[in-house]
Amino acid sequence: MDAVEKANLERQKRWAKERKVGEGTYAVVYQGREVGTGRKVAIKKIKVGAMKDGLDMSAIREVKYLRELEHQNVISLLDVFSSKTNLNLVLEWLETDLEMIIKNHSLVFLPADIKSWIAMTLRGLEFCHRNFILHRDLKPNNLLIAADGQLKIADFGLARDFADPGYKMTCQVITRWYRPPELLFGCRYYSTAVDMWSVGCIFAELMLRTPYLPGESDMDQLKTIFRALGTPTEEEWPGHTKLPDYVPVGQFTKSSMRDLFTAATADCLNLLSKFFIYEPRKRISARDALHHPYFFALPNPTHPSKLPKISTQPSSRTLEEVDGNVDLDSPGPAVKAPAPVPNRLKRKLSSVSSNQDGRETYARRLDFSQ
């Protein structure tokens, strides 16, 4: 055994796998512990079993990008080791994801909570973009939530470098409901703006508590987008009719955002609409979004540790804390919870019959395979 093998074995011994918790597209995920400290971790074992083409591209991307990124709002890769022919990624353990939180209808979101989640998402994403990395698969279930409430961008299996501008890339990225129109039209030269569209969709979903633009097919996705935001004109988005897969899908007029997002403040709607600017170059960047007045206006974003979370214990939020977060002059919290909120200062609804586990019946996982 040479020095490298010994070092690898040492690293391997630092981590203990405990139980299988999930299975992803290219990996099996285990809960484990750091042997020395007892700290909980997630161990992602990359399946190399079938080994048709050696190591999976997604696994390679994940290692490559996560090694480079270290930020409070990006999942941290603690270690990598190999066992025989397997590759194991040790990641920080993250209890839940934003999708589970959105779908758990026993949780009520205050405007300040939404602001906090979106700010954390933008901070993590701004860091990726600053380091020339596109995520290309932002959606609520890739935004994981740590026990202390911090939001972490995860799943870099589709991420890419964009340091080299004008580089042709595949348009088959980003789960459909979060995919921007330029990709649906087959654009091969794109940049950070694709991630920003996804952030807009997540922002809207946090307010609506249901996906904002749920298309049923790629074609229907375009229709869904245009129905909500109006069919783009040549002036709004110069050149879009020349994109490789452009097809006219009908003329729709923009429906009022104000009518849908009834409780949102003017600042909030203004920022939201900037994520949905059709012309990618004009769409707001992560950096500019963080400087938007929305983040400087009241209410202040909720501290991560005070955000709603899935737990068996009743909410421990005190009235004072809630008070500080609610802008009493606003038309009301920007929450459109599916059930009426008996008392908007109360965190937990008393009468939730179903969905205690945060799961709903409709399928959320979208296919990528076409």
Partner: protein, 280 residues
């Protein structure tokens, strides 16, 4: 902070590489490294692979030999694995079968060159159901994983071309196309040496500029305290050492030396050589 740093070999690794510890002389190791890189380059051309992927493969290949002995893995297999991995890293993956075919051709051609002069080389394509294909495929998968594992999964590589363009601009040499293209050529040749795994990019680019401007007789301020390489935080000793690595590539090798290198493509060959040349 981002961790965008690229790893470099330590002084200890450079002075006493794993192959050296196993008894392979320094010069022979240098030649084997260069030959492995040449094969990567040739495979890249035959596969019409992008230059960034080929260059990345060569750098990963060079790093590998600072942590592994050639007695343990062959330069042919590791080169093939490096090109496969680098192509994935650079988002231009190769088909396994294409890569294996090309390496098979290159290895057959190398073996042929060891035979007595005169006979023309004729490639005999392998059967996909034969052992060669499966052996190469196996070796490829193992090499890919070993590269990742032995490099500590750190596969970040910085290529020198952007830096060269910048430095030429700062030195006011953009107009001298001959100098730019000559320096560019040295940077590419340097990919056959270990320098990208042992010196920072600014040192390597400075060395390429030094060689190019000296060759073309372009004067640049070179007397202390006004030395142009200080502008790029490069140390003279290091720049000079990199020049040495590059110049050694162009040294004439005897036919015997060349044959010896070609005959050491696999770890089996290397082990045989070590037995035959064991110090007694």
């Amino acid at each position: 902070m981002s961790r965008r740093l690229y790893p470099l070999a330590s002084l200890e690794q450079i002075q006493n590489s794993p192959s050296r510890q196993d008894g392979i002389p320094a010069e022979l190791e240098e030649d084997l490294r260069a030959y492995g890189c040449k094969l990567i380059h040739q495979a890249g051309i035959l596969l019409k692979q992008k230059q960034v992927a080929v260059a990345t493969a060569q750098i990963l290949f060079q790093r590998f030999w600072f942590v592994t002995s050639m007695k343990q893995f062959g330069i042919g297999d590791v080169g093939m694995g490096a090109l496969y991995l680098a192509s994935k890293l650079e988002e231009c993956p190769l088909r396994m079968r294409d890569l294996i075919n090309v390496y098979d051709l290159l290895l057959q051609r190398a073996a042929h060159s060891l035979k007595p002069e005169g006979k023309e080389f004729k490639y005999t394509p392998m059967s996909y159901f034969g052992n060669t294909f499966y052996d190469l495929k196996d070796a490829l998968v193992v090499a890919e994983m070993q590269l990742l594992k032995r490099l500590g999964f750190d596969v970040h590589v910085v290529l020198p071309y952007g830096t060269l363009v910048n430095y030429m601009r700062l030195l006011d040499l953009t107009g001298r196309e001959d100098a730019v293209s000559r320096a560019w050529g040295y940077l590419n040749d340097a990919l056959q040496t270990p320098v990208y795994a042992s010196y920072p990019v600014q040192t390597i680019v400075s060395a390429a500029i030094l060689l190019a401007t000296r060759h073309l007789g372009i004067p640049l301020p070179s007397t202390p305290p006004n030395c142009w390489w200080d502008l790029f935080d490069a140390e003279w000793e290091d720049v000079w050492a990199v020049c040495g690595y590059i110049m050694r590539l162009y040294r004439e090798r005897s036919l015997e030396d060349r044959r010896q290198v070609i005959g050491m493509l696999t770890k089996k060959d290397v082990r045989r050589w070590l037995e035959e040349n064991a110090p007694s």
